[in-house]
Amino acid sequence: MELRCKNLLSIADLVPAEITHILDTAASMKEVSERDIKKVPTLRGKTVINLFFEPSTRTRTSFEIAGKRLSADVVNISAGSSSVVKGETLRDTGENLQAMHPDLIVIRHSCAGAPKILADALPAAIINAGDGAHEHPTQALLDAFTMRERKGALAGLKVAIIGDITHSRVARSNIFLLTMMGAQVCVSGPQTMVPRFIESLGVTFIPSIIDAVRDVDVIMMLRIQLERQSQSLFPTIREYSRFFGLTRAVLSHARPDVLVMHPGPVNRGIEMSADVMDGPKSIILEQVTNGVAVRMALMYLLIGK
């Protein structure tokens, strides 16, 4: 089976069979990271460029490690140390990189659609590693991988996504993926942070976090994105935390086998209390481990031949 597109720009472009294929491939890739010698020669001679216009620890490192475990040559570029600060346009940056013949460019940008601009202009494969408030498809895939590994299947799973839904590319990609794969999704958060007509995406809105977590298999907490907060959408951090933070008290209303996820980085003590984050229901670090396997799978499927 082949992916139909040379790029991964959004989950909305995929079909369920492709998602299953990516997750199955990732399951096989995971073993490579558990070896003493964590490297296979599959992408020898391929070049991967990580082009990050926004800060990132997890995603950038994850792509870098994924590429290196497959023996690709990985180059990292961050906006601060690039010609972008001299005023070069995105397209020009892309075309100059293309002139050095990379096989894959991984891009993160604060503007929705930036990866699409590169994908349309360049022959290299493009992976969207987060574009503004649009999508973060590899995060949704690694979340799905983790849920499937823990719970067996995505179909029929109940998932609550809680926090700043409006500004969250993680929420959008997860909503697209989970609803496509037959899971039931509900969202919760301050009314100011949940888009109107969210139901049109096939999810339900539950105003109270306690009601939202009550009967779900997975609770996915989102980070309060202080850097995208141009207007006051809630009065104070403390109030947000009091009403929408995941604490042990809130968790006591959930099912005993519930899993707690978070795409990171966590504002410890704001959207999630420290004891929940470090507690037995939290699988946040498993998500990070699985991220490498999922990105290896994508690299193999996009540029592995």
């Binding site: 089976m1 491939t25 096989s28 073993e31 490579v32 070896r35 296979v40 599959t42 193999y300 592995g304």
Partner: protein, 172 residues
């Protein structure tokens, strides 16, 4: 070859293996996915019936080590490599169904070496059809057959295909 041919051949290989390893139980089978794994499992089961000793079996997927990924039309589906014993210091009997160019075995040797340094690797194949492109020879061969390059040798096994059969198709 039919069920009884394949079974007799594997019996003979299992006895040969046992004869060469008597006293030393630090050996293991690794099958190359898919059908090599079934062959490895059968050999292990036979040795257990004959001798009561259980020889461990691992499964190796060589997709990530192939040298022809850029030349084949579609991506081979990646399966798991599962080797439940330490490679280091173990004598490995690498099993596959058909030996042809030797490139699969080259990939498997690289794959095994990435997992550790075995004491030795021996090659077991059900059918050797010739036309090697690399200096690789089997240590245990079920049957040597003469083929032309445009023929295909098909091996079907109960575990994977629901039937035991080996035959040649195509050709001029």
């Amino acid at each position: 070859m039919d069920t009884s041919d394949i079974d007799r051949t594997l019996n003979r290989i299992a006895f040969e293996l046992w004869e060469h390893n008597r006293g030393a139980e630090t050996f293991a089978f690794i099958g190359i996915r898919r059908r090599g794994v079934s062959i490895a499992n059968r050999l292990s089961r036979k040795l257990q019936e004959f001798t009561g000793v259980r020889i461990p079996v691992g499964a190796l997927d060589i997709t990530l080590y192939r040298d022809d990924l850029s030349e084949i039309a579609s991506h081979p589906v990646l399966k798991k490599t599962e080797i439940p014993f330490p490679i280091k210091g173990t004598k490995i009997y690498l099993c596959d169904d058909v030996l042809y160019t030797g490139r699969t075995i080259r990939a498997a040797l690289d794959g095994i070496n990435d997992l550790g340094r075995p004491e030795a690797i021996r090659l077991v194949v059900l059918i050797d059809r010739g036309h090697r492109e690399l200096p690789i020879q089997p240590d245990y061969t079920g049957r040597n057959i003469t083929t032309t390059k445009n023929e295909r040798v098909e091996v079907l096994l109960e575990e994977d295909d629901g039937i035991d059969q080996a035959f040649i198709t195509g050709g001029a």
